[in-house]
Symmetry: C2
Subunit: 277 residues, 2 copies
């Protein structure tokens, strides 16, 4: 369990707010790993070993494991077990359902005794309203990370609809912030929307924002920080493909480290510029 205070402390100590996204696709990992009994886990293990001093969070994307059935779930469970306990562990699951169903998704990812997974945080889609969120909050100290503004093309379809009180994503942030405090709730905001951060900080001045889209999706770290950083940092910036697939040779872990190090150094500069450290 990682509290807000612990998260901020980690960011200051490690001088980074990087999250490494473990979107591990067995078709993209180096050939030589395929001889191991669980190639995806073997890959993740080496990525984790190579990056754990450079990041403060890991985010396995559930879809990449579910797409391999039982074997994939085993890789996910083994990966969870291997995650360093001082890093925030986020399951990127994007679930969203009515109360008694969400209760079960919460068990799936939070109840380690039963499923072998006890992530610190889960991503959730808000369409079904507070039902989608409150079941996760019953678990003391666990985080819910709600989709607000995503980095995908499809974000234009609904997230920018005007609800009379602003864009839909703004309404989502305002309403969700009445359900829980900044010690339990974060929002997903795509890095490709950096100019929107000023706007978002009006409604979420203190929430941590999980920011995908730096790297492969083309978002700029500098822009994100310019508009989004707070005195406590308030940002967790995720990079997945640009780190984990930096090389597909035997040197993939070193290449991942080099990529993570470059991001960490940029992040350190941003933290210094903003006076966080």
């Amino acid at each position: 369990m990682i509290s807000r205070q612990q998260l901020i402390q980690q960011i200051k100590q490690k001088k980074t707010f990087l999250c490494v996204g473990l979107d591990t696709d067995v078709d993209k990992i180096p050939e030589f790993l395929k001889e191991y009994p669980d190639p995806a886990f073997e890959f993740n293990k080496r990525i984790i070993d190579a990056t754990k001093d450079l990041c403060i969070a890991y985010k396995p994307n559930a879809a990449f494991y579910e797409s391999r059935g039982m074997k994939g779930l085993q890789s996910l469970i083994s990966t969870y077990e291997y995650l360093p306990k001082d890093c925030l562990s986020i399951i990127d699951a994007k679930r969203g359902d009515i109360g008694n169903t969400s209760d079960n998704y919460a068990k799936a990812f939070f109840n380690e005794d039963v499923t072998g997974m006890g992530f610190d945080a889960i991503t959730v889609t808000p369409y079904m309203g507070n039902d989608s969120v409150t079941p996760y909050l019953k678990y003391d100290g666990k985080w819910v990370i709600i989709l607000a503004l995503t980095s995908s093309v499809g974000s234009k379809d609904f997230q920018y609809l005007n609800t009379g009180e602003g864009y839909l994503y703004e309404t989502v942030i305002q309403k969700a912030n009445t359900w829980a405090g900044v010690d339990r709730l974060m929002f997903v905001v795509g890095a490709t929307k950096s100019t929107e951060f000023t706007n978002i900080r009006q409604y979420a001045p203190d929430n941590f924002l999980l920011v995908p889209g730096v790297g492969a999706q083309g978002g700029s770290l500098e822009e994100v920080c310019k508009y989004g950083i707070t005195k406590d940092c308030g940002l967790i910036v995720n990079a997945s493909r640009s780190i984990i697939y930096a090389s597909n040779g035997e040197d993939f872990a070193e290449a991942a480290r080099a990529e993570a190090l470059s991001l960490q150094q940029q992040m350190q500069a941003e933290l210094e510029k903003a006076g966080v450290i």
Copy 2:
């Protein structure tokens, strides 16, 4: 694979548009089943055997299986394998993510060769726009069932926001109907909102609607049909708890059948009233 034409044919032949929701909670199933190696599957098997002539679809709710980790996933796979192939198999997964992630969720539930599951249809949450939907449409003949108006309390939070062109859920239906035809796209509309069906039929005159909320959640079948039925039926009404937990004794399968039969008889009357049969 069940095409629209086959679905309509099944409805006419069996005189029912019932979907049995397999929200199987191992804490709620009869004690005596717990001696079997896979109690949840054993329960589902008997429910399926007892109801398959009375319904045209089955809908396992992924959360109830995921909450039991590896064992739960095995129960889900075994249940999928056991589903009668003339019934529409729906995985109630409520996923929604960007393109390359949705690709993987599609593999998880549609790619039987890899995961052991090849459902006909998946429920999807629309917040991320067309990214959330199009990856599933790449699989020929598979259905996407998009959340529109849900039966939960939280539906008030966002689904009823006015987007300038009507409620958000209306905009979702209108826009989604530009992504695929009525042979590939359905919408989830809660039975507790029966008066809204008139409205929904303006935007989705021919789509099949998956209607949860009859039974345990208090929706009325008569009301749903009054406002929602079409010349092709156009409705798949789901009941989960009211059927599968009709009894928790040794007679649970008979009790489930009695409950399903009562619904089938009401449905037959509605189909006759509407001139579908």
